[in-house]
Symmetry: C2
Subunit: 253 residues, 2 copies
């Protein structure tokens, strides 16, 4: 199967390397800028690249891995063979932005990726959706060669999943940032929290998060909650707001 990847950012970069490694014929990678292509060329020296959308190679599948707000523009600009599939890799953009094409769908890997880090594809869930049965089967098949965790999700499900991914990744990480800052202010190393952070994530791998909730809020330990709010008084108001909001939500749950 011949594949063209459009976009050489984090997702395009890692998909290109992974698909090539799995034996797909990666005929071309597009990026608007030569600079963005450089790391990929360093990783795959024989890869064909272009910076012109008008010069896309012929392929069976075109994977659009550009920024969310460029997907629609790119999709409308490209001209592909009538039997080819066009899919994008975004968690939030609706599938209909690809409707100019005959065969289109979603090929969304749910993981934060950075170019300087390897991706453990076995652990990456793929979310697939398509406008025809055959397109869905083909996209599903490609995903399955990369990961055992492949799911069929409609637009709304994928958007809700992306929202929850922001919560458990971005928001949880910001809690770590806040904790890091508080510890630093008190001459304490972040190392102190690392085992607890890992254990918190490990627990919900085999148990529901509801069943492992602990802490002063769930115990209705008003004394500790009041003490914590006092300790936060020298920090920005948002710290107190966040503490109170979480406490209220955990108590109400």
């Amino acid at each position: 199967m011949n594949i063209v990847i459009i976009g050489a950012g984090n997702v395009g970069y890692h998909l290109a390397i992974a698909l090539q490694a799995k034996g797909y014929n990666l005929v071309q990678v597009y990026s608007r800028s030569q600079a963005t292509l450089a790391p990929l060329i360093a990783a795959l020296p024989n890869i064909a690249t272009t910076t012109q959308l008008s010069q896309l190679a012929t392929a069976d599948v075109y994977l659009i891995a550009v920024k969310d707000d460029s997907i629609e523009t790119v999709a409308n600009q490209i001209i592909v063979p009538p039997n080819s599939i066009v899919a994008h890799t975004s968690g939030t953009v609706l599938v209909d932005v690809l409707q100019k094409h005959t065969h289109y769908g979603i090929f969304y890997p749910l993981q934060t990726m950075r170019q300087n880090q390897t991706v453990d594809w076995q652990q990456v869930p793929f979310c697939i959706h398509a406008n025809t049965l055959q397109t869905q089967q083909i996209l599903f098949g490609i995903a399955q060669t990369l990961s055992p965790k492949v799911y069929l999700l409609n637009d709304h499900q994928r958007q809700m999943l992306h929202l929850t991914a922001v919560m458990v990744n971005n928001f949880a990480n910001h809690l770590f940032v806040m904790a890091h800052q508080i510890l630093s202010n008190n001459q304490l190393p972040f190392d102190l929290l690392k085992p607890l952070i890992l254990e918190t994530a490990q627990k919900v791998q085999t148990q529901t998060p509801e069943s492992v909730q602990t802490g002063p809020a769930v115990r209705h330990d008003t004394q500790t909650i009041e003490r914590h709010l006092q300790l936060l008084q020298t920090y920005p108001d948002s710290y107190t707001q966040l503490y109170q909001l979480f406490t209220k939500m955990i108590v109400n749950y």
Copy 2:
């Protein structure tokens, strides 16, 4: 060294088993109720127990592992030999509540413990503090036989650490609860998020949380943020408030 543990809840239970396994002479475990002692007696059939504080055995070290708001009462009630050490295991209670005694301190293991789960003590940081050098050395030494991660923290540092532990454990877990609920409402399995949750925790083991922060807020991706807020409209207001608060904090950071 002879040790008495006062309290057979989660911390007392696990400390008793671990200290016994490390060769300490665990002369007695106290709990207010026989029922609380039952799991420990099942785990350590030869253990001496009592439900009467007035019948505490003689020991070198008394570890108070009762609920936070009972520590002061228990500490004032017990009578121990003048050379013995009294320490409590709480993350928030001040060390001074033990000042009736000659040698006293803190022996705080930073981890959430549950009786039905084994504790990997090698990964548990211990926070030690004491009113005399020798007491500190003895408590430090006991902790060190259980874990390589032993720290000396004063009251304020320990309280701040406990506060951050609530953030990265209890609050992060509540994010998982919210995500679980949203996924369930959309007929999606929580399994989808498990790899991301684990990866989020693993990343900050070797990198600072600041350096791995990703997501729409850090990218100032207003379009995605607005879409997420729309998706949350059918959920309680607190979901929206939390999303907005985190977004504001990440943007401002």
